[in-house]
Amino acid sequence: MSAATLHLLLAAAMFCIGLAGALCRRNAILVLIGIELMLNAANLNFLTFWKYGPQPQPLDGPVFVLFSVAIAAAEAAVGLALIIAIHRRYRTTQLEEISRLRG
């Protein structure tokens, strides 16, 4: 078992934990936590392939991670703002209660 495999497994585990959280939790913020975990798992994957990958391109992985981090930060900010706005309107952050757009 190589270091790459180990890191990939770790990333997969983290992703799946995040996924489980995103699937199960009712509170929007906690779902967001799950999503953050999934994103970070992806980052770990990028870095793993950069570090241990077959043909490491110089700095491709870090650059990707850097952008991903930036976008994740933006996503978190907007997501949380949405949640706050929704909370102010519907007095709830439970996902299944926010279903006005239901067809």
């Binding site: 996924l19 995103a22 699937l23 996902l95 299944e96 279903s99 757009l101 067809g103």
Partner: protein, 670 residues
Amino acid sequence: MENLAKNLWVIPLLPLLAATVGTFLPRRLHRVTAGLSVAALATAAILAAAAFLSVVRGGALYSNVPWFETGTLSVRVGWILDPLSAAMLLMITVVGTLIFIFSTGYMAEDPDSGRFFCFLSLFAAAMLGLILSNSLLLLFICWELVGLASYLLIGFWYSRPPAADAARKAFLTTRIGDLGFLVGLIWLYSESGTVLFYDQGAGCLEPAALSGIAGRATAGGLALGTAISLLLFCGAVGKSGQLPLHVWLPDAMEGPTPVSALIHAATMVAAGVFLMARMFPLVALGGSAELPAPALVVMAWTGALTALFGALTAVAQTDIKRILAYSTISQLGFMMMGLATGGPAVGMVHLLTHAFFKALLFLGAGSVIHGCHGEQDIRHLGGLRRRMPLTFATYAVGMMALSGVPVFFSGFWSKDAILHSLSHWAPSRVPFLLGVLTAAVTAFYMTRQMIYVFAGTSRGPDSAHAHEGSPVLTVPLGILAGASIALSAVTTPFRPWLEHFLSPASTPSESGSVWGILILSALACGAGLAAGGILYRNLGVALKTGRDPLERWVPRMYTLMRDRFRFDEFYRATLVKWVGAAAWISAALDQSLGSVFRDLASFAASAGSWLSRTVDQGVLNASFDDGCQAARDAGGLLSRTHDGQPQRSLRILIAGVIALAAGLLFLATS
């Protein structure tokens, strides 16, 4: 000698300095300005005399200096002192000085006389520069400055609308010709590569350049030399008041009388003739005695028509200065004829003699006007013979010189030389006949004028109290009268010193034919004098009816002549009106162009909005509405699955992802 050529620029510089200094002197110091101007020009006259003498002794001189550079070309200008310019130089400085002196008396009461002398000096400087320049470009520059000075001087009494109008008219009319001149100048420049007249064999009037131009033709079969010459002649036509651009000259009499004397009789109008004389090697290019160059033919005909036109018009004028103005036009025509048919010397001799006696006549007229408190209409004058004897005497000398009274008067000899060369002109005899006719008419109208002004008794309040002016006015008259007579000593065909001086190469005329022409000329003059004397002998009686004797005799002809053959009316009805119409149309076009842009923009905007609305409603909405209805119905079914539970969707998604990943992995491994 070399220094002389290098320092020629001092001569025009002197009056220019006087003008510059005068400009900045306060108005109350106008006497200082006047004194400065006279002194400057007098000094210039002395220098000119020295230069003249040096030319008499030795040949021509010139020197060139670089002016500016463009491309690899160095544009140079220069000064020339050859017989042509030396004679003009002397004439202009001497006549000019006399006129300046006269002006100090004539303009003594005018508070603006400082300005007047500035302009006069500027004019003298420009004119001197013009004749001294060894470069067509520099000549053109001075030419335009002469135009500017004339504009300023004619419009000297700017608050009088006729004077201001006349000034503008003078500038614009001559500018038409000047544009031709400019084009000719540029053409010559680009063809010969230089605008220097003489430049050690490389000048444009020297054989090398001329032979380069000689064989070439322009589009339309016109010889290159002819084309350029004709363009230059345009300038001369404008400046020298030839038909059809003469209209400004009579109006220019609105300026003070010394101005008329200086500019419109003696010197400025001579610039055109001088230009053609200067450019004669080019103008005469490709011609022979039997078949003169086409440009010369055009010149001769123009001159002939102008001469006759001027003389005929002068017959029916009643303004003392206007008569002289038309006579100037007529004499300029003579000069052109002489130049075209007999070479530069013939024309130039008449120019020089004419300068003296025409200045004399104008100053005499000025003296009359001065004495009669500004009265210029000859019908209100009369009987001045006794009241202004000095003026009368000198005026008579001038009149006889102009009319060509034989033997003692320079005008006779110079005019005779022209008639002589006309008689030998191969292409046509008509100009000769016209010339003789003109000579007779000249004598006639001058007689008429003399009788009107000086004979009989006074017909107006102003002339009744006329008085002779101060010596400042009369002494110049005397000197000019003397010169008009004295010049005949060097202009007779028997001892044509001046002609030889101006053009050493010209062949002496055969004596046999000399006599014939002399007699014919004298006869023409005599006829004119006699006719005038007879027709106007009872002027006082005739004027009781309020009509001129000639008018009673040939009324229609007289009206036509009095109305100057209706040239001004013609121009006003055509050119001026057309330009006005063009301006009006252009302005309207411009206005509509602006609004067209604005309208286009708004139209585009509204058209765009209409289009988009139509398309929206008619096409998109209609089809989409139907399509959407169908889609909505279908969507209604599907929407059941979209229950606003994101996690439920996520689960389905993840299940799909798992299936996909498993499938891919399976495929990859197997």
